[in-house]
Amino acid sequence: MIGATTGRDRRPNFRLYLAVARLSFRRGFAYPQAALWGLITNAFFGVLRAAVLMALFGAQPQVAGFTVQDALTYTAMTQLLIAAFSLFGWSELMRTIHRGEVGTELLRPHHFLLFWTAQDAGRAAGQFVLRGLPILLIFALLWPLSWPQGTEGWTVTALSLLLAWACGFAFRFLVNCAAFWTPDAAGVGRFAWAVLGLSCGFLMPLAFFPDWLRGVLAWTPFPCMLNTSVELWLGVRSGPDAWTALGTQLAWAGALFVAGEFTLRRGLRRLEVAGG
């Protein structure tokens, strides 16, 4: 394997990664018109999803620990996070591998996984500001929303959102690594994104699902990629339980990053780049 990861100086260069993240953050702002249309689409679908949830609640004040207001907040949060968390999928790395550009990237003096992590962190932050916050504002103007309680509520929510992004990114990275093994990684991706949508709580809060399904999902990392953050924001989980939730997210993030690095090394070993 060629590349900086085998070089003598293996200390990560944090200034480089910061610069990468900053550039990637700014890239999101380059197409304001696309961002505007994305916002309109998100808001429209959000309104439809909110109507479905309100119709489900009917006259019931509370279901599975959620009030109608909580359900509306949930809808706002998921619409707010779609772009930042790439909940409909992400295939940038896959493309790099298919086109062979990955060969050039390996020559650069950086750690491959950290480089992509920095890039996605910047992208996610950009989308959060550009698309997410306006959606939250629109929803807050349309309906009364629930907000995290006190300093602790905001702290655990913020930490949880960071960890949810980390878990989600590591999962997306792993799925993209399929491109090292198959020319049709897009199919693998479509499969993975469909599973993700249901299991992370994007389509419906996991609390509404039957117990057997929640029992199965509790053994997977998917709830850590969205549902946990929603429950912490709403205060459905609070106090020591909130910190347990954060611990679970941290453990999954660690495990997924280790799996990502391992898979990447295996993938790079069998990588063949056609000359051009």
Binding site: A34, F45, V47, V52, A55, L56, G58
Partner: protein
């Protein structure tokens, strides 16, 4: 008359040849095709499962006027919309803005114009995604489930209403695809704007329209006549009155509303083709 018949037959033969060529190429990699076909279905399956799995916890869906909808009744609406949309996607996939704008930008659309075969036919036959057949099966299954759960007085009128609903929706959404595709002759920014109408419209009519506020419901009844497509026919089949005191006859309008939009869309398409300049590739 005889020559008209011969010409229609040769065009149909050409269309089938185009589809056959694509079907063969998509079947070349069997494992990846199987995975793709499964994933195509899984996206809809996950969305519907998420709804079907949580509904029992709530009991029913309640519209703004207090009318309750059971899972079977919503399945009927959801399944019909999905069935029509995926059939439309198979048929009109070539006009979908992302596909067509790809042809426009790469210059292959200009090649279409040079070939001695009708342009529309070539576009119709240019993006036939065989993997979507699994979604057709799933959608048909959801409709069948819905029909098995509701009590319908099976008259010829009701059967015609549901058939008309599907035909109307195919034409309606096909028309939206044609409009979106035509817009790509001038701008690629139209793609997301059209998605609000196509995918947004499909989602909107997948659920009973009385769950939306009056403003949304009236907009999508009188301004954009989507309510005529499946909501009114399903209400009639279930023996429920139409909103705003509309007569039952309004439930028969789907096969008029859809093709009317499609005809307008093709008029716009012809205008677009006349003014098409290519991208110089």
């Amino acid at each position: 008359m005889a020559s008209y018949w011969t010409e229609t037959r040769s065009l149909a033969g050409l269309y089938l040849r185009l589809l056959g060529a694509q079907a063969r190429s998509q079947g070349a990699y069997r494992v990846s095709f199987a995975l793709d076909a499964l994933s195509a279905m899984l996206i809809t399956a996950a969305e519907f499962a998420a709804f079907a799995l949580v509904l029992p916890r709530f009991g029913a869906m309640t519209g703004q006027h207090g009318v309750a909808w059971t899972l079977g009744e919503v399945s009927l609406l959801y399944g019909l919309a999905e069935l029509a949309f995926v059939l439309m996607d198979l048929l009109f996939g070539g006009f979908d803005a992302p596909n067509l704008s790809g042809h426009v930008r790469s210059g292959s659309f200009s090649t279409f114009l040079l070939r001695p075969a009708p342009l529309v036919l070539q576009v119709f036959g240019s993006d036939f995604a065989l993997r979507r057949l699994t979604r057709v099966l799933l959608a048909a299954g959801i409709v069948a489930y819905g029909l098995s759960q509701v009590e319908v007085d099976w008259t010829a009128g009701h059967a015609l209403m549901l058939l008309g609903s599907v035909v109307g929706m195919i034409a309606f959404f096909g028309g939206l695809f044609v409009i979106g595709g035509t817009l790509t002759f001038w701008t690629v920014d139209s793609v997301e704007a059209m998605n609000v109408l196509t995918y947004g419209g499909r989602t909107l009519i997948s659920y009973p329209m009385d769950i939306y506020g009056t403003f949304l419901r009236k907009t999508f009844t009188y301004l954009i006549p989507a309510a005529f497509l499946s909501y009114f026919p399903v209400l009639s089949v279930l023996g429920r009155p139409l909103p705003d005191g509309l007569p039952v006859a309004a439930a028969f309008l789907a096969p008029l509303v859809g093709p009317a939009l499609l005809a307008a869309a093709f008029a716009f398409w012809r205008f677009g083709v006349r003014h098409y300049q290519g991208t110089g590739t």
